[in-house]
């Protein structure tokens, strides 16, 4: 490492010094626990039925695919 690199490192260190407070100011456990206890999103039988119906429509009427893609 040459002197110029050393000067640049020193400048960056001085410029960036300060704002990063490394102490956690609040307890994050309650938030994490809520996330853990949140029930996972599950698809109902109705979602599967709709998906199957859509697939069937696309198989029976493939000409609708471009129109559908255009709307997306």
């Amino acid at each position: 490492m040459n002197e110029r690199d050393e000067a640049l490192r020193e400048l960056v260190k001085r410029a960036a010094a300060g704002p990063a407070d490394r102490r956690l100011k609040r307890d994050l456990w309650p938030e994490l626990l809520r996330r853990i206890e949140r029930p996972p999103v599950r698809a109902s039988w109705w979602d599967f039925a709709l998906a199957a119906a859509l697939l069937l429509c696309l198989l029976l009427f493939p000409e609708t695919i471009p129109a559908l893609l255009y709307q997306l």
């Binding site: 640049l8 400048l11 960056v12 410029a15 960036a16 609040r26 994050l28 938030e31």
Partner: protein, 181 residues
Amino acid sequence: MTGASEAELEQFTRGDIRAFESLFREYQGEVYGWIVRVVRDPGAAEDLTLETFWRIYRARARFDPRRPFAPWSRRIATNLALEYLSRGRGEKPLEDDALQQGTPCSVADPAVSADLRGKVLAAVGELPAKLRAAARLAIIEETPYAEIADALGISINGVKSRVFRAVRLLRRGLEKRGVCP
């Protein structure tokens, strides 16, 4: 910090929420402290700490309780911090009109002015995420290379190489802004 016992880690891998809470309470400060060193934003670091432990909890079955918990958690935290940086977060670069294009290079004053500080942070913010993380940890935080290498999952030479490239890019970024350190 005493470190988690193997029994506690084994309970954690089996999904024991109390063991996980105990681990969380023991390591949350350390994980947060590490993340804030990389992203330098306390609010983002809190979110990333939560995400880190959420991922740790979901990956518990893959964890070997005979291995230490801290390096594993730090690796996950580092990956998340890098993802955050690569999404373009961190110091905001100065607007184009703030750049003094064509201004002759001035030698940096050791007493860093607000203007100079802004230019340096903008240049740091322009670095690619991996180089930015290495630069922050090595140059700003003066973290030992071995520790950085462990957290980033690369060799010490790999860290040196990233810091070297970061310094080169920083110099270029500062020169573009009329600063010649």
